[in-house]
């Protein structure tokens, strides 16, 4: 069985599956249960400065988007950082870490944006025995209104400044957690790197309103008739998170900066995808909140099996494997030509490919009186939509045209690799000489 142990910025854990800083990691009781279930690490729910604890709403904290059969596709939350006294959290962290020395235990922090506040909190957490700190620059609701969380994460200069303080006042490894509520994720990542961060973790939650109560005309979750934007997470946000992770992994400025991948990780496969795009480990929240801590067992067995099948002996073999294949549009091979092919034996004649192509695409599928659907190669632009909407797995595939084969649509022979940068229609094309 593949070795799943990871060493992430010097923090060792028996597997790359950590629980993200969130409700599941707010208390000793939960974290002990998580470790008993097999989680490799935990990022303790965000601690704030000493003083009167944070206050949470007393109505619903979560809004949800359901798929069929009430499958949870996404959850948003308006919960703030821990609402328990700092002392209690610190005592519990110390106790848990003492009993689970082999697990990673990182403390998430969020205090006001001044040097003394950070200096003070770092001093307080140092003797817990925790393995590192994660700076919560991502929380998009509530705390942001008070100048913390994503209010910091949206200003690269602040990120750099605070990260620098943290590295100055503490020897603990420092992970900077990034908010996706920003136009270019590379800028805050670069700032974290400049400030001396050991790693970034992303994504934090996305600003969202999950739904609107159409009887009371109020956003969900609704508190006494009113609602506010909350942070969206779960399977629905994974594609956004994957892109942001990849952008940081492949950027020259941030290449090599360790990444902890977060955002809709629900199965071993999701985790493997994040890792292939450069994440050294992953953090999970929504899946645990939906199914409980036991899911980590599937994640461990699934990733092990996959790595065995691929001949990978360590997670390092997987991390970053897909990064070289993430490129810019302009470098995509315009001479790569495919055509949809419908397997008539597998086809159940639902006609979804036809409706999609005829109504919304390129009129490249013919329908006969007996409901036989065939691709018109002279019209097919290989957009893939038919394959995407087909309910039968493997029924529609994309056939790659061989070099020299004539594309019936354009009448041209398939040539060798050529991209937009040299295309004759590109005004700024460079003649290939």
């Amino acid at each position: 069985m593949a070795d799943l142990t990871t060493n992430f910025i010097g923090i060792k854990s028996p597997n790359p599956f950590w629980l993200a800083s969130a409700p599941p990691t707010d208390k000793e009781y939960n974290v002990r249960r998580a470790f008993e279930a097999g989680w490799g690490g935990v990022v303790w729910k965000t601690l704030g400065a000493e003083g009167p604890p944070i206050v949470n709403v007393n109505g619903p904290r979560y809004g949800v988007v359901h798929g069929a059969d009430r499958r949870v596709l996404g959850i948003n939350n308006i919960e703030l950082i821990t609402d328990r006294p700092l002392e209690v959290n610190l005592r519990e962290i110390k106790s848990v870490k003492r009993d689970y020395p082999d697990r990673a235990l990182v403390i998430s922090l969020m205090v006001p944006c001044d040097e003394d506040s950070w200096k003070d909190i770092l001093k307080r957490v140092e003797d817990t025995g925790a393995d590192g700190v994660e700076l919560n620059f991502g929380c998009p609701h509530g705390m942001a209104e008070r100048g913390m969380g994503s209010a910091v994460g949206q200003v690269p200069e602040y990120i750099e400044m605070v990260t620098r303080w943290v590295k100055q006042f503490s020897r603990m490894p420092c992970i900077v957690k990034l908010t996706p509520n920003i136009t270019d994720i590379r800028r805050p990542a670069e700032a974290a790197k400049r400030g001396g961060a050991d790693a970034v973790s992303l994504i934090n939650t996305i600003n969202s309103i999950t739904s609107v109560d159409l009887d009371n005309f109020a956003p969900e979750p609704t508190i006494d008739g009113k609602g506010t934007h909350g942070g969206y997470c779960g399977p629905a946000v994974k594609p956004i998170a994957l892109n942001m992770v990849a952008e940081i992994a492949r950027s020259a400025e941030t290449a090599g900066l360790p990444i902890s991948g977060i955002g809709g990780v629900t199965t071993w496969r999701d985790a493997a995808e994040f890792m292939a795009l450069g994440a050294g480990n992953v953090q999970v929240c929504t899946a645990a909140m939906t199914y409980g801590f036991k899911i980590v067992q599937e994640m461990i067995s699934g990733l092990s099996q996959y790595m065995d099948e691929k001949g990978m002996t360590s997670t390092a073999d997987l991390v970053g494997r897909a990064v070289p294949n993430v490129t810019d549009w302009q470098y995509l091979n315009l001479n790569y030509v495919t055509k949809a092919v419908i397997d008539q034996d597998a086809c159940i004649k639902c006609g979804r490919c036809y409706a999609a192509c005829e109504d919304t695409s390129h009129q490249a599928i013919a329908m006969s009186a007996d409901r036989t659907f065939t691709v018109k190669e002279d019209e097919c632009v290989a957009c893939n939509l038919c394959l995407d909407v087909c309910p039968v797995e493997g029924c529609i595939s994309m056939r790659e045209l061989a070099l020299g084969e004539v594309d019936q649509r354009t009448g041209r022979k398939v040539g060798t690799y050529a991209n937009w940068t040299t295309h004759p229609n590109n005004p700024s094309a460079q003649a290939a000489e």
Partner: protein, 448 residues
Amino acid sequence: MTNSQLTPGVVAGRLAADDYARNFSDIAPRLDPHEARVAADRCYFCHDAPCMTACPTSIDIPLFIRQIATGTPEAAARTILSQNILGGMCARVCPTETLCEQVCVRETAEGNPVEIGRLQRFATDTLMDKGVHPFTRAAATGRRVAVVGAGPAGLSAAHRLAMKGHEVTVYDGRAKSGGLNEFGIASYKTTDGFAQAEVEWLLQIGGITVENGKALGRDITLDDLRAGFDAVFLAMGLAGVNALRVEGEGRDGVANAVDFIAELRQTADLSNLPVGRDVVVIGGGMTAVDAAVQSKLLGAENVTIVYRRGKQGMSASEHEQDHAARCGVRIIHNAAPVAVHGNGAVREVEFAYTKQTPEGLKLSSETFRLRADQVFKAIGQTLQGVPEGLAIDGGKIAVTGPGRTSVKGVWAGGDCASGGEDLTVTAVAEGRDAAEDIHASLTGGQDG
């Protein structure tokens, strides 16, 4: 309970009270809202959907299922009822396994179709439970139409005609409306008085007068109707029953399956309904299955369906045959009755095996006897009391196009008319289409 399944003869009260309640409860209860959403989500929303083509009333099935999936079952019901005003009953009794669900692409793909019938029931029940009748009448045309028969075809035509603004009078020979919906369908398919509730709901459209206890030929004549109305729609069904034409057919205990089913449907306390210990049903259609299964559910010890042809020849669907088998009914194929033995009452039925020959079905010399204290004949119904002057085709009123008979101003549909399968849903379609044609002739045809 003085009697049991083993009590000889035709007696009542073979079961405990709980058994009757359980045996005759709703065979496919309404889906709850969550079940309906999950079932609806399985629909692929096919292009030019095969299910819609297979439905005799052409209900837009993908649309109504999508309306359920998006939380608007009332809108789904409107989609259904605009094509099939008896969509509530059809959801219960349609042989969906040979219609919409048979051609569902998920049946093709995985042998497990979208539950179209049950989803239809969820939608129509939701709307009807709210007491909503979603259609209104057009401005009065001043035209009057007579409908003969308050079964599916007649009610469908009456509703459509009333909606178009015509005044409709429906005549029916029985004391209650509904036709086979009320008298001819297995009890467990339509529980809780649904047939009557549906008739009352349908009549909320207004403009329809129902005259029960008035049969064509007995109380009214076609000539009267033609004289008193602008158009006539005949939908009186098939009142006659085919005879076995074998020795001993007249013995006590030999009855028509349709009469047994009708009596059962009208019996408030089924523990009072007598049934034999050994019941033999002769025939291969839905009536045979319904009579056999319900005999079994009433506590008969042995129930046997005997059909003269093979399994494939049975007009009862495979689904229905399986249902009968699950209920403990034995089905014997390729045998036909040759004599009913007994001394006063029936004791045994003698059958001969049949064989298919180039000259047709022949009886072989090999015979067997089945013990029987009750025998139900279910070998088909026939048209009775056809008014003079109407052309007949294959034992039914000949019609062309949307139910036009050989007599001007007279239309026909449902089981009494030629063409189409004898199904509730087909009758509804024929009634609807005839009504549209009558409407066209009463309005557009006026000047021409």
